[in-house]
Amino acid sequence: MDIILSDMQEFITPVPNFVMKSEPIVLKRRPVRQLGHMDALESESIHILREVAAECANPSLLFSGGKDSIVLLRLAEKAFRPGRFPFPLLHIDTGHNFPEVIEFRDRRASQLGERLIVRSMEDSIKQGRVVLRSENQSRNAFQSITLLDAIAEFRFDACIGGARRDEEKARAKERIFSFRDEFGQWDPKNQRPELWDIYNTRVHAGENIRVFPISNWTELDVWEYIAREQLEVPHIYFAHTREVIRRGNGLLPLSHLVQPKDGEQTENLMVRFRTVGDMSCTCPVESTAVNVAEIIAETAITRITERGATRMDDQTSDASMELRKKEGYF
């Protein structure tokens, strides 16, 4: 159940596939007095990652294979190369992930030569830690249990994640260093004040901190960065023909988990995913964007939020994300 692609206990092996660029950068423009927004956001995120590494005893970085965590990995490279990452990568596998994304996750971790720990919800179900009402039920909310178990197993005192404040109203109020009690719970009314960029990383044993280095990035920033850094993303982010079912306001991808109900028809549409979560509740959007530049163009003019368009589980109530976060969700 533990996939370890490489071991980072020993720091003396070189980072595979990483060559220190010893050539000076040729500036295309005059040196400026002020950084642009993309450079400023990048620098803020690098600063945050280095603070976690320096002050937390045993951090991990949550890597799902999704675009936000892909950006996090590049930021970690920028923060720590030519050294290795001072933390392992952790993925909570719901068992309902898109196979393309899982394949991408393993390949990317292996390219980076960093350690990847996978903990799966299937195991939590077998152990009776997670009880589902039905096999096909969305597993998104139950990830928390497996995540908290993994935190306890490895004694992680900090988990770095790719959440952004522009995603959702409850997230908009969350600190960059977000304190969780020993039950993994977030208390939105009792958050630590966060001033300037001096972060308080201190926790007692059993408690932990969730750290969100790209809190201040928007969906558009993420795509612009993917373009600028020429990062590879799983191909389901690009427009492709897929068999889908219309349900409520959204489209659901046909899979072994999602089958048409009575009266529903399947259709073949050109779609892409804006997020890649649980297959049973992540909806694609109709799109013709087949490359990053076209996604940026679409994102710049889109009129629907990322989660509003793609997550059925966030639409159940006005406060569904807040409730899940209080339970220990990321």
Partner: protein, 444 residues
């Protein structure tokens, strides 16, 4: 790549601002208006809040619902924590910290203010300059926000009267003079109807100044950061110890102020050892020159013992190294300051044990009077003297925000209990009256 660049908003400037005002001044409505008129509200958000507005038996769209994110806030119809919002125009990217007006949440205002380039102080045209407006302005000046905008809102409820606007402007200007605040922009507006927010509207023909959006897009912010003194607190030491990089020893951190060039003479503090910059390493290659706030890795010519908490500075631009200093403290915790207890101070990348050795005074933020105090309770602000166990490498906050600021942590609870700003030694601000003179607000 060039095709992408032309579609994208490119590397534009980033402006962070806060909105502050009393409970009913219409902060959330103003933010809703900025987002709505700059086409930054998404359809699903709009339809969700329209639905909620109607459910509450009201007509139209209550734009304040956009920022009230937490369940308790929606139940009570108030804002209880800092909410961050993002929007962009072709000229700039914006981060808004929407901070609450309630007295008990002053700490959140300080939190939002600490990273802001600009503050919008909202005033209800019907009510004029209130105690809370004074408090928020004082906090903005204390935290040293470089730019201040006074938005006289709800002009629609005073018949768009020029006289009302001028009276509020002169009241506020008199108060701002006490704080030695300059370069304040006054804008009459109706956030509800959209006048002078993004569009000029046709109700305020007598006002010839800029709209709020014009100001946000164009105000120069390149001098907001200290560009003179090089300060590089070491965050992390990189020693790959591989065969290929056997002797590589890189000091990783962010340039907090100033700039650095290969070959520059540097001093390591607090040790005082000196060397020269050998390389400025980044993932993307070597740089010749780097500026604040870039995150880089520095290597130096000599083999010195440098670790996290040390600071590299240019040899001819030295800060102070001290174990005792005075500071303005903003107490944030429900548990009062206990001068008998030891606390932790986190300053740049250094954490040290600290003791409040003296409380000079507390500021009544409503009258700006100083008063004697034995303890600080939540939301109290005042001047103290601190002793720390290990020396800090610091500047006065007024001169350098990054090396003049610190947080105080309670060692038992691990909570952040106070925010501090280092003051010039012996300098006591007012110079004249003991009452409402110039306090230690670090105005522009």
């Amino acid at each position: 790549m060039s095709a992408i660049k032309s579609i994208a908003l490119d590397n534009t400037e980033l402006l962070r601002f806060i909105t502050a005002g009393s409970v009913d001044d219409g902060k959330s409505t103003l933010i809703g208006r900025l987002l709505h008129d700059s086409k930054s509200i998404f359809e699903d958000q709009l339809s969700a809040i329209t639905h909620t507005t109607n459910k509450r038996g009201m007509k139209g769209v209550d734009l304040s619902l956009l920022t009230d994110g937490l369940q308790a806030e929606r139940e009570q119809g108030i804002t209880i924590d800092v909410a961050y919002r993002y929007f962009a125009t072709p000229k700039r990217r914006f981060i808004i910290a929407d901070t609450p007006g309630h007295e008990q949440y002053t700490r959140n205002m300080v939190t939002g203010a600490s990273t802001a380039n600009l503050a919008i102080i909202l005033i209800d045209a019907r009510k004029g300059v209130l105690t809370q407006s004074r408090r928020h302005t004082y906090l903005a000046s204390l935290v040293g926000i470089p730019h201040l905008v006074v938005a006289v809102n709800k002009m629609d409820l005073v018949d768009y009267s020029r006289e009302v606007f001028e009276r509020i402007r002169s009241d506020f200007a008199a108060f701002a003079e006490e704080l030695k605040l300059h370069n304040i922009t006054y804008i009459p507006m109706s956030a509800l109807n959209g006048d002078m927010v993004v569009e000029r509207g046709d109700k305020l023909p007598w006002y010839e100044g800029v709209t709020l959006m014009d100001l946000l897009e164009n105000i120069p912010i390149d001098h907001d950061i200290n560009l003179d003194d090089f300060r590089f607190p070491v965050q992390w030491v990189c020693r790959p110890q591989t065969e290929e990089l056997h002797d590589f020893r890189g000091y990783m951190g962010r340039i907090e102020s100033g700039s650095i060039q290969v070959g520059d003479a540097v001093t390591v503090l607090p040790s005082g050892l000196t060397s020269r910059i050998k390389e400025i390493v980044t993932y993307d290659g070597l740089l010749n020159h780097a500026i604040a706030p870039q995150s880089v890795t520095l290597t130096i010519e000599d083999h010195l013992d440098i670790s996290r908490g040390d600071m590299l500075v240019k040899t001819d631009e030295k800060p102070q190294v001290t174990k005792e200093f005075e500071a303005m403290l903003c107490w944030l915790s429900e548990q009062a300051l206990d001068p008998k207890r030891k606390y932790l101070v986190k300053h740049t990348t250094r954490i040290v044990k600290a003791l409040v050795s003296q409380i000079n005074y507390r500021v009544d933020v409503n009258t700006l009077n100083r008063e004697a105090a034995d303890i600080f309770k939540m939301n109290d602000i005042g001047r103290v003297r601190l002793k720390v166990q290990q020396p800090l490498v610091c500047d006065n906050y007024e001169h350098n925000h990054a090396t003049g600021s610190f947080i105080v942590i309670d060692e038992a609870s691990n909570n952040t209990v106070a925010a501090g700003m280092i003051c010039p030694e012996g300098f006591d601000g007012s110079g004249s009256r003991s009452g409402a003179g110039k306090l230690d607000g670090f105005g522009s």
